[in-house]
Subunit: 101 residues, 4 copies
């Protein structure tokens, strides 16, 4: 099973620039050995179960919690049984179709 997740999480009580806070989450993921893709609008990772995926969301919040009074997060998941390695596969599938058309 593959739970592909894209999420953004940031404090809304820290003014206009929040990269210092977002980078904490990336650091926590690095320390835990989570493979992720950083995009200009969020972070993408893949888990074998939904439970694992939501635990990483919990982790992300835990590193902002100590000094952030208000935090906003948007999360989307595309969950598909019988698959894995979809961080590459999904893009390749689109690109193959594009090159064929």
């Amino acid at each position: 099973m593959s739970a592909l997740v894209e999420f953004a999480m940031f404090p809304t009580d820290k003014g206009e620039s929040v990269s210092a806070y977002v980078s904490r989450i990336m650091k926590a993921f690095d320390e835990k050995g989570v493979e992720y893709q950083l995009t200009p609008m969020g972070t993408i990772f893949e888990c074998d179960t939904v439970e694992e995926a939501t635990k990483l969301i919990d982790l992300a919040y835990s590193v902002l919690e100590p000094d952030c009074n208000r935090v906003y997060t948007t999360i989307k998941m595309d969950i598909r049984k019988g698959r894995s390695g979809r961080m590459k596969q999904k893009i390749e599938s689109i690109q193959r179709r594009l090159s064929e058309s």
Copy 2:
């Protein structure tokens, strides 16, 4: 602490109409005694922690998992320390300002 959550979750391998699947999630929430607000675009609930909130996301997926091969979900959370009862408060706060203006 208040983790206010809005989410939508539905199978994408079951054709155009998915209300039968969505209602399973509501049934699971009812059985667990979770208070929620159903909207035309999703479900809103409030938890005391982010962990509780993500566990309800896990629960929602667990009732679709048995017969859904592909499931999509979008989740947003507005997490604020030192608050509770925000399902009503947030709307009232906007409406007060509207009536004042």
Copy 3:
């Protein structure tokens, strides 16, 4: 055709409380005669076309733009041909199934 929209839009450079800004958007919708449902996590409205829907997003931003340096928005749309009046219908469809089960 029915484009059902749920969106949240708020400045991220104005500190923790943003209801004064969000209520501006509601005021603009009221003045334009847009019917909407306010929820604790966003605003829901229905249009006959996607173009109409995205123009209301443009309108929402236009009332924040003058004094907000950074604005975040999340939007989801459920677009379905041959339908209308879905702000009520979708909820009723879920509730009917819940009462049957």
Copy 4:
């Protein structure tokens, strides 16, 4: 001004695999000369105004509309005045902080 957009759009009445439909949107963007980044969970692009951004959402729907009865889309925008070139900048800003920590 920079309107950074991440969106996913797909039919929900076409079964489990939707890459053929998603690639149509990419083709339309290619034909229009829109620069975008394809991720496993969506498409990211940057515009100078919110109106331009929402017009590209309209375009995306227009290529699905002919044969898709139901379409779902999630969109998020991070709009910031006085900036441009943020598809690279935002990631670099996070990475700089990560390497410093």
